[in-house]
């Protein structure tokens, strides 16, 4: 089952999503951050962005904080 991270209303309203899908390209396990047709992948082992393009700086700080909290919780 796909896992959608619960996000605050402000981020949901701005169409941000953060999810782990059932079928992905077989690479490192990752979480996908989505907004519209653009997405970012974060490695679930290292918690680093897997690509520099698109620029991770485009992601709101609020969402980055949620990601960091999740990293701490997992560790």
């Amino acid at each position: 089952m796909a896992f959608n991270f619960p996000l605050p209303l402000s981020l949901r309203k701005a169409r941000w999503k953060m999810k782990i899908r059932d079928k992905e390209i077989r690479e490192h396990p990752h979480v996908t951050i989505i907004r519209g047709t653009v997405f970012w992948r974060v490695n679930l082992r290292t918690w680093e962005f897997m690509e520099n393009d698109p620029d991770p700086a485009l992601i709101p700080k609020e969402l980055i904080k949620i990601l960091s909290r999740e990293e701490t919780r997992q560790q």
């Binding site: 089952m1 796909a2 999503k17 899908r21 079928k23 390209i25 996908t32 047709t37 690509e51 698109p54």
Partner: protein, 274 residues
């Protein structure tokens, strides 16, 4: 990615066949020509090119378009029909449009997301809708450039938690980035990676360029210097170079790093910056 595997920036002329409330305002950013009468249809046919995109939310207008063009052997570009369709119309429509996407057993993205896909430079790597055929156990997806891709049901293996796949509930979500089959979700890029060799090549190339690991930097620098892995022998064997480049060596020995830096003509700490 997929995100940035960009297509041509050329703006496509869109003809939006819709009337009244059915006319989706989300398309307005694409500056479409709104077509809601026969008169406007005939004007639009005259100005259409092979690159035009016809999006119809109105069956009656699609039928008028077929009648209007029946006496002339013209190509209108590509067609996307978002309304119930008489299957007898398919032969006529396929001779009219170079690429045709239509509602069968499934649907398309909502207008806002559809417009977003058409606006996107990587629209060919996004899905706009899908149609399930239970008899053949296949799903045909429409891509943002209106090309289709048919894949078998077994493209979607059960997930680790045993989630059942519900093919009856197949929808494309996340502005064309995800296929949903009930509670199960699949990344569109994972499907394209399996079935589109050209996409696979582009993605692999991009991912290699983006990879920030030491191994990837070493590989880029080695290629830039025009060296083969064997060129480091006998000091370092080609297999070891391959293992370092693939990230399989967690700690690189000082001596190895020294040989690499001297052959590549850079300081050891500079390798990672390539």
């Amino acid at each position: 990615m997929t995100n940035n595997l960009k297509e041509s920036k050329k703006r496509t002329q869109i003809f939006l066949l819709a009337r009244g409330k059915k006319c989706p305002s989300s398309f307005f950013s694409l500056r479409p020509r709104i077509v809601s009468s026969k008169k406007q249809l005939s004007e639009s046919v005259r100005s259409a090119t092979k690159d035009s995109l016809w999006v119809s939310y109105e069956e009656e207008l699609t039928n008028d378009l077929m009648r209007l063009t029946s006496k002339s052997n013209i190509h209108l570009g590509n067609g996307l029909l978002i309304h119930p369709l008489d299957m007898n119309s398919i032969p006529v429509l396929t001779s009219l449009f170079d690429r045709l996407a239509f509602e069968a057993n499934g649907g398309f993205l909502p207008p806002q997301e559809l417009a977003e896909v058409f606006e996107s430079e990587n629209r060919s790597d996004l899905f706009i809708g899908g149609s399930v055929n239970s008899n053949t156990e296949t799903i045909t997806f429409w891509r943002g450039n209106l090309r289709s891709l048919t894949v078998p049901f077994d493209t979607f293996p059960k997930s680790g938690d045993g989630t059942e796949l519900d093919f009856e509930k197949c929808t494309v979500i996340d502005s064309g980035l995800t296929v949903q089959l009930g509670d199960y979700e699949a990344a569109v890029e994972a499907i394209l990676y399996e079935y589109d060799s050209e996409f696979r090549r582009r993605l692999s190339k991009k991912r290699l360029q983006d990879d920030q690991s030491f191994g990837a930097s070493l590989r880029r620098l080695r290629k830039q210097r025009g060296l083969r892995r064997e060129d480091f022998e006998p000091d370092i064997c080609a297999k070891t170079i391959a293992r370092i480049e693939q990230g399989k060596v967690s700690r690189i020995q000082k001596r190895t790093l020294g040989v690499l830096s001297s052959r590549l003509g850079v300081m050891p700490e500079e390798i990672e910056s390539f």
